[in-house]
């Protein structure tokens, strides 16, 4: 990617220097980290919705153990500070999986896994294996991060969906029953479609919070945009090819613009979704729309 005139950074000036500086391989790692963050958001969101529906339906279930599971999941995860979960889940999962693999793959090792301060599993039990390429290690870390994010946000989504399912007017469901629909039909044709108008404000909040929570990725050892902004922005002595003073403010400004643009676009999308969920509903949202239409006439 490097342009030819960038070969000798010390001889460069002004715009040329800047063009070369912004196209160093290190900067491309920074640009790539935006993709990592976006991937995290777009991979996590569907998993959050799945967990949310699972949790909400579990809580509404007549089957007691399932109901308890749903209740414990939503109240426990919502009751513990996010950051503790973000730190706990990946470590616990990583060590738990390595421990199980150690027990199954290396039964001949008699020494304990916990030796003093050390957590030692046999080499074949390592996750990923010690000789795996660095990108495998990074992908594994990313997967753990997605699971941690999904678990936390899934609990909030479960509560939102649970509440939204309860908010659908009872008369709607009774009418469905009167038309001869069975439970399944009532749920898929009447209950679920009408739920969205109540769930969307809560879910849009979650989406925004998910976007804003992505800087926590760095806590999990993933080099996200905040890591690179801080690393690139810090003052650089002549050990580096492109020395410069403290430029963190510019890099963080770029992040600010990125997050604002992203949340602004998200809001537009959610406004559309809300508008689509409104028609035909016996809610103020829908009435408001009707009134606006009339005023427009």
């Amino acid at each position: 990617m490097m342009m030819e005139f960038c070969a000798d950074p010390k001889a460069l000036e002004g715009l040329q220097w800047m063009a070369c500086y912004l196209t160093t391989p290190k900067h491309f790692q920074f640009y790539f980290s935006f993709i990592i963050v976006l991937t995290l958001i777009f991979v996590t969101a569907p998993v959050v919705m799945l967990l949310g529906f699972g949790g909400a339906l579990a809580r509404r279930s007549d089957f007691l153990p399932l109901k308890l599971l749903g209740n414990v999941y939503t109240s426990m995860v919502r009751g513990v500070p996010d950051i503790i979960f973000f730190l706990f889940v990946p470590i616990a999962m990583d060590q738990g999986i390595e421990y199980l693999r150690h027990k199954t793959l290396c039964p001949e090792v008699t020494e304990p896994v916990y030796r003093g301060n050390d957590f030692v599993v046999c080499p074949p039990a390592k996750m990923p294996l010690g000789d795996a390429a660095q990108w495998v290690h990074e992908t594994w870390g990313f997967v753990l991060a997605v699971i941690a994010f999904a678990l936390v946000f899934g609990a909030f989504a479960a509560n939102t969906i649970y509440g939204a399912l309860d908010a659908v007017p009872r008369a709607q469901l009774e009418t469905a029953r009167a038309y001869g629909m069975n439970d399944r039909q009532t749920f898929w044709r009447i209950h679920l479609p009408q739920m969205w108008t109540y769930a969307l404000p809560g879910l849009s909040n979650l989406w925004m919070i998910l976007i804003k929570a992505t800087p926590l990725l760095f806590l999990l050892g993933i080099e996200d945009i905040v890591y690179w902004a801080r690393e690139l922005g810090g003052s650089k002595t002549s050990f580096f090819e492109y020395p410069h003073p403290d430029w963190r403010v510019w890099y963080f400004l770029a992040l600010l613009i990125f997050y604002l643009t992203f949340t602004w676009l998200s809001e537009k999308v959610f406004n559309r979704l809300t508008a689509r969920a409104n028609p035909g509903q016996s809610t103020m949202g829908n009435m408001g729309q009707n009134l606006r239409l009339e005023a427009g006439r």
Binding site: P9, P25, K26, N117, D118, G130, G221, G234, T237, F240
Partner: protein, 241 residues
């Protein structure tokens, strides 16, 4: 034909395992030049990268470098995310309770106070910035000054420049270049203070074999002068050992 391919694959795989070197994952911070830093190619570079690669070559390991932030660098070694720490980490008794060290590959050095030009020498009793979990932070806390901690070294320097702290206390080797290139804006104040037992490679206590191999490799590099050459290249210090 199929059998032939299969035979070739088996031969290749078994040859691979026969000569497979053990992979050692080398943990470092990447934000403490010239010990270790991320260069403009985005690679881990610096004195420790050069020494570490050479040590691995001597010890017969295949080495892979891993970045980890300073604050969690010991816990993540213990939980097995990587196998060694080469991050400008001084050998201290406190750290030795958790991990083992090889012999030092960089001699005990001076730490120094740096402040804006014209700052009085009393600044070392004021608000002093240091990186969290360093021997310098420990020293400042006991010196009677107010310790202001930061997660990376560069932020301690920024704190002095913007007036958040009166002085920064860090390895003199780290600060030297910053002072030299500040155009007189930043100066050393007070006396240099020798701290720590030199910089060593941190290794889990259970990895005794690896520690011995690296120890022997360091001895060899000290003996043949190659370590001195690297120290001179990065730190301009002659005949360190």
């Amino acid at each position: 034909m199929r059998k032939l391919i299969l035979a070739a694959v088996i031969a290749a795989v078994s040859a691979g395992t026969a000569y497979a070197q053990q992979t050692v994952r080398m943990g470092t911070e990447g934000a403490y030049e010239p010990y270790n830093f991320i260069n403009d190619k985005g690679e881990i570079d610096g004195f420790e990268r050069e020494v570490g690669d050479k040590l691995c070559e001597i010890a017969g390991y295949k080495c892979e470098w891993v970045k980890n932030d300073w604050d969690s660098i010991i816990p993540n070694l213990l939980s097995g995310n990587y196998d060694t720490i080469m991050a400008g980490m001084s050998i201290t008794d406190e750290r030795k309770e958790k991990i083992d060290f090889t012999q030092n590959y960089f001699p005990p050095t001076a730490s120094a106070y740096m402040a804006l030009k014209g700052t009085s020498a009393d600044a070392i009793k004021g608000n002093v910035a240091a990186q969290v979990n360093t021997i310098q932070a420990g020293y400042v806390a006991e010196s009677g000054a107010t310790l202001v901690e930061f997660s990376i070294a560069d932020e301690t320097v920024a704190a002095v420049k913007n007036g958040e702290a009166d002085a920064v206390f860090a390895d003199k080797d780290y600060l030297q270049k910053i002072v030299d290139e500040s155009g007189g804006e930043l100066v050393f104040i007070g006396d240099d203070i020798p701290l720590g037992g030199g910089v060593g490679m941190g290794i889990r206590k259970s990895d005794t074999e690896m520690r011995d191999k690296f120890d022997a490799a360091i001895t060899q590099m000290k003996g043949d002068g190659s370590l001195n050459a690297m120290i001179e290249k990065w730190f301009k210090i002659k005949n360190a050992y």
